[in-house]
Symmetry: C2
Subunit: 288 residues, 2 copies
């Protein structure tokens, strides 16, 4: 396994693999890897085969964090990430640095952004207004540096995956997008690098997110004709009240393709939610 930090070295390697006819599978991450990331690596390997190249990037992208958010304290542990990648069969870790990724940004010499203006309107786009512009921009950059045939994203960031899929289609990136299922802890909490922030008490109450998804699914399936959002919200707020430390940021019910909110929720629609556990903000989503 190789670690590449230089942008031009990464791009030249990718161009060489292309000339050699090797397929490139790509898993972009912000590091502090967990089993969820590793499942994406396994999926990338399945896609490109043993002869293919699997690249995992580790880059805590500053442009997707608002000034008030957790950029500075976002957890990092490169030595541990490296060991996990080696065990998982990653071929190349691409770990660029800010000074290169956004060269000249402080002097106004970085000035190009990729923006998706439909799917980013709700949910995370409301709670984190500049977030998706940072995500689409950095992923476009990473795509141009790693030149993947297949890119694998986790379903936990469902809206992000939808936005990136749209970006790939709209901008004609020659890339197959794969969205792999969310991995969960034994009690149901979706795996996330941010789970590390939780103390024991908040960790217990973080269960609220997956519990609300399970309850919502049950309620929707009890009503084959659909249940109104008002009624569903009411029932779920009762459930949420059992988790006094968990503060709801948003809870939305929407069409899984367009992300447009629905009023009558039926099986096949999707639910996404964000909650604060103290200062830690967690998200989750699931099919209903």
């Amino acid at each position: 396994m190789k670690v590449i930090k230089s942008l031009s070295a990464m791009q030249s390697a990718a161009q060489r693999w292309k000339r050699e006819g090797l397929r490139i599978g790509f898993v972009p991450t912000m590091g502090y890897l967990h089993e969820g990331h590793i499942s994406l690596v396994r999926r990338a390997r399945e896609e490109v085969g043993t002869e293919g190249v699997v690249v995992l990037s580790i880059y805590v992208n500053p442009t997707q964090f608002a000034p008030t958010e957790d950029l500075a304290k976002y957890p990092r542990d490169f030595a541990r990430d490296r060991a996990l990648c080696r065990d998982a069969g990653v071929d190349v870790i691409f770990a660029p640095d800010d000074a290169k990724m956004y060269a000249g940004r402080a002097d106004g010499e970085y000035s190009t952004w990729v923006e998706e203006d439909q799917l980013t309107r709700g949910m995370e786009g409301v709670s984190r207004p500049t977030h998706f512009r940072g995500v689409t921009t950095v992923v476009a950059k990473l795509f141009n540096l790693v030149l993947p045939d297949v890119a694998v994203f986790g379903a936990k960031d469902y809206q992000q995956a939808a936005v990136l899929r749209r970006m790939v289609k709209d901008l004609n990136f020659p890339i197959q997008m794969v969205v792999a299922p969310t991995l969960r802890e034994a009690d149901g909490l979706a795996m996330s690098s941010r789970n590390k922030y939780l103390d024991a008490e908040h960790r217990r109450e973080a269960l609220a997110l997956s519990r609300l998804l399970v309850e919502a699914r049950k309620l929707v399936r009890e009503k084959p004709g659909g249940i109104t959002v008002e009624k569903l919200r009411g029932r779920l707020e009762t459930v949420a009240s059992g988790y006094p430390l968990a503060r709801l940021d948003y809870m939305e019910f929407f069409d899984p393709e367009t992300l447009v909110p629905v009023n009558l929720v039926r099986r096949g629609h999707r639910m996404a939610l964000a909650m604060f556990l103290g200062k830690t903000r967690l998200i989750d989503n699931g099919s209903l």
Copy 2:
């Protein structure tokens, strides 16, 4: 020479050339070709060599025209373009259509834009507020479809070339950008597909653009210490008054790299201008 209209056929061909180790040279145009375009084709050929592939795209991109502009009447002559391309040694004409390039746009299913927010602020960005967003977006799309190693743009659209160069750097496209010199008619008028709009009288007065550039250069070179923009503008307005049919849209003096306007104009700075000849809007620029 081959004509490709399908996006996926273009992209597959490009991917095949990459695997075969062929270099791809790319000249994006809106068609209605003239000698200026052909000079870009020749430059692309020099860059990729006889074994390389030269692709010229013909696409009148709707998203770079404002509703008030000349999209519908923009001149088109595919048969003539095809003959010119064959004579010039183009290997592939890529001629996609709107329905494919912006699939689903009327239904909100096209939603991703590339925006450059520094170099687009002045000049054409003021006169045509949504123009550059359309240009950067369509060129990003074309780059992903044609996968060029080298792309050649004309210096007549100087600001556009600067914006696209910035986009390539910022988004890490693995593409070498070449900006080739403006070709001119015998009397000095910069070649442009829009020159076709001019009747004999306006054609005569269209000379104002190149004449102002020549005069500006002379005035600047007479003052090695620099000349103020006010003084230079005053002198040039006198020159312009000799062309009563030519109405000035803007005339700017700026740093050739940053496009930031200067107050004291010296040799090496650049001038750009736009003028209306009746309803026809023409641009030109040059080094001072």
